[in-house]
Symmetry: C2
């Protein structure tokens, strides 16, 4: 049997939005860290974090990470490089640095060069979120039953990886370790492309000359509303995801539009068989997701 890793003494969360705030609540609730220190680049967010009681809120990034044995960067993936550069000189030997970004190859590329020797980088991605952003949106149960994917580079200290995995499990998540490049392909299809499509259809609807905005609102229960939920996600976070996972997203998008052209052709030519056959196939996937505990059937939610 493996020994259960020790909880962290001093957890520092950089970036106090939905994810950072939720980590703060969950880590303290589950005793996954003795002290929680928070920092956000925005003075306004720091003030709100104090009011919300998100931990000891530091006024500088250097103060925030001092003596921390675990530092989590919960900022948009385009910002991690700058944060890593800023905290690098202030990190304690033996500290572990992690993050929460939806893209992982770019984390290794942007963060690793700034960390001093003896500091371990264990990138992580909690696959969880809501349509809301900001510290007020955080809540302790956000990570429960959701997967958290760790993507340490080859040769990363095994004990550090185990401690990070144990941290996320303490917060209620299930953990998996995979190669960063594979992660970026998997998430390109399960998360990045869906967001792109959702943002796009909402824009298409908004630009129509013959259908009013009020009609789009009123009749959105026919399917459209499900897209608007994910299209309401944080704009800066998503801008950075697409800029930093370009290749995988463009590949998935290419496949998607190829498939869509085939569907378009089937509609144009009235090919009933092709349409029905496709629509039957997709039900099994839905069943798999519910069985995997990653969603509840809709009528249960509405009751």
């Amino acid at each position: 049997m493996t020994q259960t890793p020790q909880p962290f003494q001093r957890l520092t969360i950089i970036g106090l939005g939905l994810i950072g705030a939720s980590i703060s609540y969950a880590a303290r609730q589950h005793g996954a860290a003795e002290t929680v220190v928070g920092y956000d680049a925005s003075a306004d967010v720091r003030r709100r974090a104090v009011e919300l009681g998100l931990g000891d809120i530091a006024e500088t990034v250097a103060d925030a990470v001092r003596d921390a044995d675990f530092v989590v960067l919960a900022v948009p993936v385009g910002a991690v490089g700058g944060v890593a550069e800023a905290i690098g000189p202030h990190l304690t030997a033996g500290a572990i640095v992690s993050d929460t970004g939806s893209v992982k190859e770019s984390i290794l590329r942007d963060v690793a060069p700034h960390l001093p020797e003896g500091v371990h980088l264990v990138p992580s991605h909690p696959v969880a979120g809501t349509e809301f952003s900001g510290p007020e949106a955080g809540f302790a149960t956000l990570f429960e039953k959701r997967w958290c994917i760790l993507t340490p580079a080859e040769g990363t200290d095994a004990a550090a990886v185990a401690r990070v995995a144990a941290f996320w499990r303490a917060l209620g998540s299930k953990t998996e370790t995979m190669d960063a490049a594979h992660h970026d392909r998997v998430l390109a299809i399960t998360s990045h492309l869906p967001h792109l499509i959702a943002y796009n259809i909402v824009r298409t609807a908004e630009d129509l000359e013959t259908v009013t905005e009020s009609e789009v609102f009123k009749y959105s229960a026919g399917g459209f509303r499900d897209f608007t939920r994910i299209a309401a996600s944080d704009p800066v976070m998503w801008r950075d995801v697409f800029l930093n996972n370009k290749d995988a997203v463009l590949e998935m998008l290419g496949r998607f539009t190829e498939d869509l052209s085939a569907l378009q052709r089937a509609i144009r030519w009235g090919d009933a068989e092709t349409l029905e056959a496709l629509f039957r196939r997709t039900r099994d996937i839905r069943r798999g997701i519910i069985e995997a505990g990653q969603d509840e059937p809709e009528h249960l939610k509405k009751s």
Copy 2:
């Protein structure tokens, strides 16, 4: 003040799936019809409808509509013409015929020619549904707070239209009347295109060689699961929608792919400004939908 129209004496529902069964429960619960008669082309569904207590279940379509003052066709839009032809000779003068289809021009085209003189056609579309199909999926509150759109042809008896509107309002819906062609354009963007996109992305995910199905299930909370919900809808119903609203769907699809190409270009060239500007715009639409009462914020659902 307008007089409240009389409830119906004898409501016949043809087609006992999710929608037909829900109408049966809701109509009796709200006293919108004194007697409810049901019929389904499938003997197995008729048997289950008897067990579920969905009303007096008739063994032939002719028996089902005999003496009915209100007949609702709750079958896929591709099937309404055949049903109309079968019931036409058995309808009582003065009866009102309605339906629940997601396409409305084709209803006027396929149903009207089969109705005898003195029978009123008032097509309706309750914009409501779940990811489930079949009589067991029905429930009385399905239509509450949702919109029901009526699309009577010009010159339709105003009293008949008022009675159908009053029926849906009795079931908890809000009603709106519009031209069938306009309805088909509005629904093409708020319902048909979202379903098409959802079916398509689920297929794209399923066809990947390098990402396993199990990975798609596990990490679906990143956005993908929202698409699988609507891609699990009834395959025959949706096949018929696309075959019968071809022009409007192809137009919306053309606009969507045009917009998607522009987004693809922005990703390829790293155009951060364009991406962020678009992602900001779409949040307002989400707010509008929640204010219009057509969805609840996600964290309320999850609590």
